[in-house]
């Protein structure tokens, strides 16, 4: 029983970072109607920016986090301006392919600089185990989990309670109507991509510290899983995407523990196919396009 709880906790920790990346992905998709394949590469860029900052500047986690997330924000805005905006009215598949090109560019660009192997990311957070009965949680896990939860809460507040968050939802549902009521759709797109990238950047640093490594192709798996989370949850409620992200982490942890670690990455897709076969709009509904 305690074993099970331990696995669930570990899974939720990992799942919270899936949730952060997936929410950014879903926000971008809902508002811009674009699959930003390069979104997880922004996450990867933040990892490496964090690594550079740690090696060259400071070990202070908060400063590393802010600098890396800002770098991610800048990268996200650049992608929006250079690739997404010129393709705003194009067929859904085209921005997808173009951002895939950006993805390839960034993956190999970072590989060219950092080399093809995983790099060690220094443990810049305390690693103190906290034990409750037979369950162990490290302070490292708790801090990264706490950051993820804070980001998710802030994002939910933005979408539910702020003027621009409301505008983003209006654009997601009916971009033309929102525009005629004075909403600058390009500005909303920019804010959305910027916010998503910033969140992904913060999650990237969190994951790098948690696993103690950075790798130029880490985005592939994260991208896929965020995509799965979004489609399983439906993109109508970002809280649903968060929930599915955390559930997915737990499910994977349980699969690794009780079935086989080689099935871990397949779990997401089995869930996906089953859910979408039954509910093509996802569990909690999607905007209809």
């Amino acid at each position: 029983m305690e074993q099970l709880i331990q696995h669930v906790i570990n899974g939720a920790m990992v799942g919270s970072t899936y949730a952060v990346v997936a929410v950014g992905f879903a926000l971008t998709f809902s508002v811009l109607r674009v699959i930003n394949v390069a979104h997880p590469e922004v996450f990867m860029l933040a990892m490496f920016t964090g690594l550079v900052v740690v090696q060259a500047l400071t070990q202070n986690f908060l400063i590393v986090l802010v600098i890396a997330a800002t770098a991610a924000l800048v990268a996200g805005l650049a992608i929006e301006r250079a690739v997404l905006r010129p393709l705003r009215r194009a067929d859904l598949l085209m921005p997808m392919i173009a951002t895939a090109g950006v993805s390839v560019f960034l993956q190999y660009g970072v590989q060219g600089v950092a080399g093809p192997d995983e790099l060690r990311f220094p443990r810049i957070l305390p690693f103190a185990p906290l034990e409750v009965g037979a369950i162990t949680v490290t302070s490292l896990q708790l801090i990264t989990f706490g950051i993820a939860v804070l980001i998710l809460l802030a994002c939910s507040f933005y979408v539910r309670r702020t003027r621009w968050g409301l505008a983003a939802r209006a654009v997601a549902e009916r971009p033309d109507i929102a525009a005629t009521f004075g909403v600058n759709v390009s500005r909303v797109a920019q804010i959305t991509v910027g916010l998503s990238s910033f969140m992904a950047g913060a999650a990237g640093v969190g994951i790098a510290v948690l696993y103690g490594s950075a790798w130029s192709f880490v985005g592939l798996l994260y991208g896929l899983k965020s995509w799965v989370c979004m489609l399983v949850a439906g993109n109508r409620h970002i809280e649903a995407v968060m929930l599915v992200g955390i559930m997915l982490g737990i499910l994977e942890a349980l699969t690794t523990a009780y079935v086989s670690s080689s099935f871990r990455d397949a779990v997401a897709f089995v869930v996906l196919i089953v859910v979408l076969y039954k509910r093509p709009d996802g569990l909690f509904g999607s905007y209809s396009y």
Binding site: R163, L166, A167, R169, A170, E173, R174, D176, I177, A178, A179, T180, F181, G182, V183, N184, V185, R236, Y287
Partner: protein, 237 residues
């Protein structure tokens, strides 16, 4: 009297299909004018062109003497033009209140928005009652009221209405057209696009007939209602 809105030589095309062919129309401040035409005559394209939602191929669109062509939709929206789109198109996933807040997006002053909303809740009690409901859960008639109230939140000088009677029950249609008259009486000019000639001629000062993207005729409602053509095509008698 100076023209509030003046459209001249407007051409809209989708690929090789010309939807609007050299349309001229004028609207003076304080008027209600209606563009009558069948489905696919190009009515909606004219409204979309005014908003910059489609880019016209040629022509001038002057609002208060200023050219609107080349502006982005949100720039047109913040100059005092609001619209009630075809088929309502309210934000179904937002609440009634949030729909109204979005209607006043151009107005950044919270107090003014609240005051305006209170006024509209007085005029539309049903919306006040449902203010926290998701707009998608309203009936068709209620959604039309919301679409109109949303446009009024922007405190526009000019209101564009795209087929406000579409898909509504006869009783509600009467109510909508009475409302059009009330809105106009409060000082808002209205350009309306309609298929329902009987009701729209009842409220309009002037009507244009649009056929295959071109103006086929225009006149005062009284003059038009007496012509054989109108009676046969639009009034069913």
């Amino acid at each position: 009297m100076s023209a509030l809105l003046e459209v001249a030589g407007l051409e809209v095309a989708y690929g090789a299909v010309r939807a609007v062919k050299g349309v001229d129309l004028v609207l003076h401040a304080g008027e209600i004018r209606v563009i009558l035409g069948a489905n696919g005559a190009g009515k909606t394209s004219i409204l979309k062109a005014i908003f910059g939602l489609v880019k016209p191929r040629a022509g001038r669109i002057a609002f208060q003497g200023q050219e609107l062509r080349g502006l982005e939709p949100h720039e047109v929206g913040s100059r005092g033009v609001a619209w009630v789109p075809e088929g309502r198109q309210i934000w179904a996933t937002l609440t009634v209140r949030q729909n109204l807040v979005m209607g006043a997006f151009v107005n950044n002053k919270r107090a003014a928005v609240e005051r305006r909303m209170a006024e509209l809740f007085d005029r539309f009690p049903i919306l006040a009652e449902r203010r926290s409901q998701l707009a998608g859960s309203l009936s068709g008639g209620e959604q039309q009221m919301l679409a109109i109230a949303r446009a009024l939140m922007a405190e526009p000088k000019l209101l564009l209405m795209d087929e406000p009677s579409l898909g509504l029950a006869p009783l509600i249609i009467r109510r909508v057209f009475d409302l059009v008259r009330e809105i106009n009486a409060s000082g808002i000019s209205i350009l309306m696009v309609e298929q329902n000639a009987r009701q729209s001629l009842r409220v309009a000062n002037w009507a244009y007939l649009l056929e295959n993207g071109a103006i086929a005729g225009s006149g005062s409602p009284a003059a038009l209602a007496s012509t054989e053509e109108i009676r046969r095509v639009y009034l069913g008698g």
